[in-house]
């Protein structure tokens, strides 16, 4: 392909080189492997593919992955908003430490998070022992999966909402007050709608990440087939059995979910940009 035909000419040099490097690496690293997965799916055929996915164990795994991701992202939606608001609007001792710590789930390897959470919430762990008298078991139940996914998804909502709160104009809140609105009314009717697109974007990003999460979940989940076995783990199991077609079938199902979420994120961003010029 000659990109020159599709681009506005520019005197700046290096377009061919940089475009070439970009497309080569994008193709080799991302597009070709994804094409291999989809190609495998085509070779298997849609009917066969459906038969392979349509088993109770796989449905249980897919719905579990999606359900747990949904619950965790909803928790993160609430606490992410709370954290972002507190970090931007209030001044308190240790604020910067908390602000920096929000990115810990991005920086900490997922396997490390996984074994740490398991150690904490296992029946003989510090939190596990404390919760046992309440009849609450976290580790090796679906609750444990929710917990791991809350950890993983926490930064997404905070980091998408935070800059938007920073750029909110104080005028809006003052105007609302001069028009006789109480503080709670201002928060619900003025602030929250302005934050909604960012909240939705953060929610969708957290959801996309959580649905496919593997490392932090498998240690705490207990991995009981049909109960606490997540979809990515099922792919790993099928691969270990050298059942590549079945692994590909589950992989394609997950890819479809990911693409749907990606489309949703883009749609939210386009919608919000058109309506209020905010992302």
């Amino acid at each position: 392909m000659r990109p020159g035909l599709l681009r506005t000419p520019s005197p700046l040099p290096g377009f061919g080189l940089s475009f070439g490097i970009m497309m080569t690496m994008l193709s080799l690293v991302v597009l070709l492997p994804l094409a291999a997965l989809l190609g495998r799916g085509l070779a298997i055929g849609p009917a066969e593919l459906w038969d392979m996915v349509n088993s109770r164990r796989i449905w249980a795994a897919l719905t579990l992955s999606f359900r747990a991701a949904l619950v965790a992202s909803l928790v993160n939606l609430v606490f992410g908003l709370l954290l972002a608001w507190v970090l931007v609007r209030y001044r308190f001792w240790g604020r910067r430490l908390i602000d920096a710590a929000v990115d810990l789930p991005f920086a900490l390897p997922t396997a490390v998070a996984g074994i740490a959470l398991t150690a904490l919430y296992a029946p003989n762990g510090v939190f596990g022992q404390a919760l046992a008298p309440l009849g609450l078991q976290v580790a090796y139940t679906e609750l444990g999966i929710w917990l791991a996914l809350v950890f993983i998804g926490l930064p997404f909502v905070v980091r998408t909402v935070q800059p938007v709160i920073e750029e909110l104009e104080p005028d809006l809140e003052e105007v609302s007050a001069t028009l006789g609105a109480r503080r709670t009314t201002t928060l619900c009717r003025v602030i929250l709608p302005a934050l909604t697109p960012a909240l939705l974007t953060g929610f969708a990003l957290a959801l996309a990440r959580s649905v496919g999460e593997y490392g932090s979940v498998i240690f705490i989940a207990g991995n009981i087939p049909g109960l606490t076995e997540i979809a990515p783990l099922l792919i790993v199991i099928r691969l270990e059995e050298y059942n590549y077609d079945a692994a590909a079938a589950i992989g394609i199902a997950m890819l479809v979910i990911s693409f749907a979420l990606l489309l949703a994120i883009n749609a939210i961003q386009i919608w919000s940009r058109r309506r209020i010029g905010l992302v």
């Binding site: 599709l6 005197p11 377009f15 940089s18 991302v30 291999a36 593997y214 990606l262």
Partner: protein
């Protein structure tokens, strides 16, 4: 009128002190419970048998091989990622062409693909039962269950990091300085080295930092593609899993503690960059 007692006006742009204290308390408790507690646990469990236990664990041949493997992978994948990020940012920010939005979406794609699926795609592409895999095997080229496969998997999951930080910064800085350098007669490579790179170096460093943290910590994709062969293809995170599953708790948490220290170092450097160069990174944060 005059009998209304003058009270202090209620501020209209913040919450009452009690509510504020409550919200701050909730936020701090949430962070302490969900973030600090697991972090402390890593170090506590590693030190369960004292400092000697940690040293003994880290001197295990498997642990040392895993550390070497992880360093090797990061040393290959991170520079490649930086090259890609710089090339992508230059092409996207400095030129106008059609299909740019689609391209950016494709670059972001790895963020929404499960790491396990990423590993799976590589196994399907290069594994023994694909056409390409059979040919590679015949020619004695190993990709899956070997270093090249792990590097590819790492590249996949870290792919957007550098590009995502650089693109908004380069777009915000515009083309005027590069054009000025052009009119002064500077050749292309010189413009890049003396004008573009200095202007974007903090954003580049930021992206490299994040990319490196993820490269060293990646688990799912690497677990699938590496085959987790001890002393050969096992990385630090996959070795953590194997130690843990063998009930070698101190060994698992010692290796995990090294990774956690790396994460803390990453966060520290990242925060320093954000505080010192807030203006230069503003564009990435708005992204």
């Amino acid at each position: 009128m005059s009998d209304i007692a003058p009270t202090r006006p209620v501020p209209v742009t913040t919450e009452p002190p009690l509510v504020r204290a409550l919200l701050i308390g909730l936020a701090v408790a949430f962070v302490a419970l969900f973030l600090f507690a697991p972090l402390v646990t890593v170090f506590a469990e590693a030190l369960a048998e004292g400092g000697r236990g940690v040293i003994a664990a880290l001197s295990l041949p498997d642990a040392r091989a895993a550390i070497a493997m992880t360093l090797t992978i990061a040393a290959i994948a991170v520079p490649l990622n930086a090259v890609f990020g710089i090339a992508a940012a230059w092409a996207i920010a400095k030129f106008d062409f059609r299909g740019k939005a689609v391209l950016i979406t494709l670059i972001d794609l790895p963020f929404s693909v499960s790491p396990v699926v990423a590993g799976l795609t590589l196994v399907l592409l290069f594994g023994a039962n694909s056409a390409l895999g059979a040919w590679l095997m015949a020619n004695d080229i190993r990709i899956v269950f070997a270093l090249p496969g792990i590097v590819l998997a790492t590249l996949f999951v870290t792919f957007p990091f550098v590009a995502r930080e650089l693109i908004p910064v380069m777009i915000e800085q515009g083309r005027a300085e590069e054009e000025a350098a052009l009119t002064l007669g500077a050749p292309g490579w010189r413009i890049f080295l003396t004008v573009t790179l200095p202007n974007t170096r903090w954003a580049l460093l930021y992206g490299v930092l994040l990319s490196n943290a993820r490269a060293m910590g990646e688990f799912g994709a690497v677990a699938v593609v590496s085959g987790k062969i001890r002393g050969e293809t096992a990385t630090m995170p996959t070795m953590v899993e194997m130690f843990y599953n063998e009930y070698l708790s101190v060994a698992a948490f010692s290796l995990a503690a090294v990774l956690a220290l790396l994460a803390l170092l990453t966060l520290l450097l990242k925060s320093l960059l954000e505080w010192r160069h807030a203006d230069l990174l503003a564009a990435t944060r708005r992204h």
